[in-house]
């Protein structure tokens, strides 16, 4: 975890890691609005030290969520590759929301209309890109209602993020709600 760059003091590297750990902790439980001072305090460090390692709060956010975003994207890529596009779509949505539920900063960053830090620039693009193929395949397989576009699903994810925010303490609640809504977009054998 410590930076491999040469010529750095031992305690500096330790502080870097402690700040990063504290940032991950607070950002994931309290969201993007977390005060930088709190992070520094939890890390047992002064604000200046924090800023020495991460010149901007945005940099800190980026570093704190990088792993989670990477993991999220890996999960969604896997979901998008599923043979059955419908179950892939469900997995995609559920894993996206699970990521948001686990890491409130991701929730904040993805859901914020425009005030989102640069750390989340690529998220919407990524979302749309993966969804495009998945939705197309689901339409081909006839398991997704034909009026539903990729943009619709993308919006739906943001909308369900709001559900996650209001039921953060019980994962079952948002999961149930998500399945309820997704089920409404499903074309079952019983219909038609």
């Amino acid at each position: 975890m410590s930076t491999g760059s040469r010529r750095q003091r031992w305690d500096a590297a330790r502080n870097h890691d402690q700040v990063l750990a504290a940032a991950r902790d607070l950002f994931s439980t309290r969201g993007l609005a977390t005060d930088v001072r709190e992070i520094a305090t939890l890390a047992g460090v002064g604000v200046a030290t924090l800023y020495r390692h991460f010149p901007t709060k945005d940099d800190l956010v980026r570093a704190a969520v990088a792993d989670d975003l990477a993991e999220w994207w890996a999960l969604t890529r896997r979901a998008a590759a599923e043979e059955d596009a419908w179950s892939g779509l469900c997995a995609f949505v559920e894993q996206t929301l699970a990521t948001m539920a686990r890491h409130r900063a991701v929730l904040d960053g993805v859901m914020a209309p425009a005030a989102a830090p640069a750390a989340f620039e690529a998220c919407h693009t990524h979302l749309r890109a993966e969804l495009d193929g998945l939705v197309r395949r689901a339409h081909q397989q006839g398991t997704l209602r034909p009026e539903v576009s990729a943009a619709d699903v993308s919006l739906l994810v943001l909308a369900l993020g709001q559900v996650v925010r209001h039921t953060a303490e019980s994962p079952d609640a948002w999961r149930r709600h998500t399945h309820l809504v997704l089920d409404g977009l499903h074309v079952r054998a019983a219909r038609r």
Copy 2:
């Protein structure tokens, strides 16, 4: 519109009305985060005057949204009284979202988890109360999928509020999306 209280200077009453009008304007277009100074400026008045008439920003918000909330509640009550519970439910949701789309402060106030000003205290309660009856009747009439509870619809409204926020410029977009999702909760003749 001017306060009926006796013994008030005419310019004070005029200022009261101008502040209220400015507040309505900016709160509805920019949301709750609007700076109080902007409102005062638009009203052609100093901040102190604003605070003289509305001792707190929260009071100002309350006054600015009171009519809209009343109108919203009237609309939803009417929707809740419809014979066909399903179309009543759809009207309920759509009118709620239309209110939020028209008045961003209402959107902010209702969607905010806990930071909502006191002006929106009763909203969730009201929402739930009206939805309870509506959902029960829809279940009796067999037009709403049986797993869907009033709490689900309540959450759904908040979720769709996020859609409104992301498609604020085009009312068609959120309306279409809303119908898409609602349609998924509908029990049609074709199913079962």
